[in-house]
């Protein structure tokens, strides 16, 4: 079972890391919901990514706000079972028929690419709801071209976006919490990617 990234997912991940070169960054990857529920997929295509945080990644509350709360808050005999609030990202996924399929993280130090406790916990939470979940840890090495839907296009478009400093306008979930008007779905960058395709 292989993982593939679309140009849009790859570009936004890279722009996120480029915007905060002095910090660790992380985010989620989303895939389209599989129509046939019972048959397993041959490969997972991550169509988009949601940049989450930069800086201190190891704090729980805002990460929980970004992900769903279901599994933690339901207890047997609990008279308040309805705290299954589809917070923000999950609601967006439902509307676009996406499912959270993976997690990416780029550590503060480019040479350190081991997943830490945070990465493992998030990946475990995601795989509770999506058995074929993937984790991507950024390394300073040429990636294998198999995991791209179209590597040449991805390279070309990413180079163009880096050149034009588009990363300055990338919005992650942290930016959204600083000012709610900042849109973490990054429609402008999605348009630029589409335009360059």
């Amino acid at each position: 079972m292989s993982l593939k990234l679309t140009t849009q997912a790859y570009c936004k991940m890279l722009l996120h890391a480029a915007k905060y070169p002095h910090c660790a960054v992380n985010g989620l990857l989303v895939a389209e919901k599989h129509k046939k529920k019972d048959s397993p997929r041959d490969s997972v295509l991550c169509v988009d990514c949601v940049p989450l945080f930069h800086g201190a990644l190891a704090l729980a509350p805002m990460l929980e706000v970004a992900l769903t709360l279901k599994s933690r808050l339901i207890r047997p005999g609990n008279i308040f079972p309805v705290f299954n609030c589809p917070i923000l990202i999950d609601a967006w996924c439902k509307e676009n028929k996406y499912v959270i399929a993976g997690y990416y993280q780029a550590n503060e130090r480019i040479k350190e690419a081991r997943p830490n406790q945070v990465a493992e916990k998030v990946a475990a939470r995601i795989s509770e709801n999506f058995s074929e979940a993937a984790m991507i840890m950024w390394k300073c090495r040429e990636p294998s071209t198999d995991c791209f839907e179209d590597w040449i296009e991805a390279q070309k478009i990413t180079a163009a976006l880096l050149e034009s400093k588009s990363y300055e306008s990338l919005v992650d979930f942290d930016n959204h919490l600083d000012d709610l008007r900042n849109d973490w779905t990054n429609p402008e960058i999605n348009k630029s990617v589409l335009h360059l395709c």
């Binding site: 609030c85 923000l88 609601a91 709610l180």
Partner: protein
């Protein structure tokens, strides 16, 4: 242009690319008009140039500073910074000056030697106990090492000296929340509330209040009264979040999703309370 650089310097922005763009033009074309400001601009541009891997620019700024201030410790520290950026051995290692010690700690952090950086920073803080930047750096190092108890201690120091700073309150609450357990959750909720009291537009504090109150209410270990109170707090937080989104989402189609999600949150709270 000069004013822009001054503003960025005073507010400690790390917008290195912009500083390099503006600063380089200022130095190359308007140097004669800058008077004595030029030296501080050389320093500011040099540091930004290192951040952007512009060693050519960093080198020329450094040369000008060395020529003007040949025996300055401050210039030697900048030379050390440049060597650090080029990953060369740093001759400033044994200096006892405050700023040089901080640079040494930054080097250790950049090399991934977290435990040594933490040890050095602790020693530094024994001598310079009022250095807030250092306390904050130490709290970040502890958070990265998942030593939340010690991170909380650092943030307590910061809150003591800055009781009106809502950001420290909110970060302290986040650390307590991450530590987990009923007592820490209650403390977290109180500090999120305090952060909101200091700044009622702190969204992280609002979300944090909602999350901690919800978790407490959902815990099997609390009494019915505590449950009821926390449901009330969570409901209040939800309505405030909803209001904030309504205000932010006015006239913007893209925020429709977020507004809808928060409305669903509010509905579920109302079902719970009735």
């Amino acid at each position: 242009m000069r004013d822009k650089l001054r503003k960025w310097r005073e507010e400690n922005f790390r917008n290195s690319e912009q500083i390099v763009d503006v600063g380089e033009e200022l130095i190359n074309e308007h140097a004669s008009k800058l008077g004595d400001d030029i030296w501080i601009i050389y320093e500011q541009v040099m540091i930004a140039a290192l951040d952007c891997s512009r060693d050519d620019l960093a080198w020329s700024c450094l040369q000008e500073l060395k020529r003007q201030f040949p025996d300055s410790h401050r210039v030697k520290r900048l030379a050390g910074m440049r060597l650090e950026a080029l990953e060369s051995p740093n001759p400033l290692w044994m200096s006892t000056q405050q700023a040089a010690r901080k640079r040494k700690i930054s080097i250790l952090r950049a090399q991934g030697k977290s435990s040594e950086a933490i040890r050095e920073l602790n020693e530094y803080l024994e001598q310079f106990v009022g250095d807030q930047e250092a306390w904050h750096e130490l709290s970040e190092l502890y958070i990265n090492e998942h030593d939340y108890a010690k991170a909380a201690f650092c943030l307590e120091e910061l809150m003591m000296t800055n009781p009106h700073n809502h950001l420290y309150c909110e970060q302290y609450a986040e650390v307590k929340y991450t530590q987990g357990g009923l007592e820490n959750l209650e403390l977290a909720r109180k500090y999120f509330a305090q952060a909101l009291k200091l700044n009622n537009r702190n969204m992280r504090a609002l979300f944090g209040l909602y999350m901690s109150a919800s978790h407490i209410a959902a815990s099997p270990k609390v009494s019915a009264k505590v449950k009821k109170d926390n449901v009330k707090y969570a409901a209040w937080a939800t309505s405030q979040i909803s209001r904030a989104y309504q205000m932010a989402g006015r006239g913007k189609k893209e925020n429709k999703c977020s507004v809808k999600a928060v409305e669903e949150m509010l509905e579920s709270m109302q079902i719970t309370m009735s």
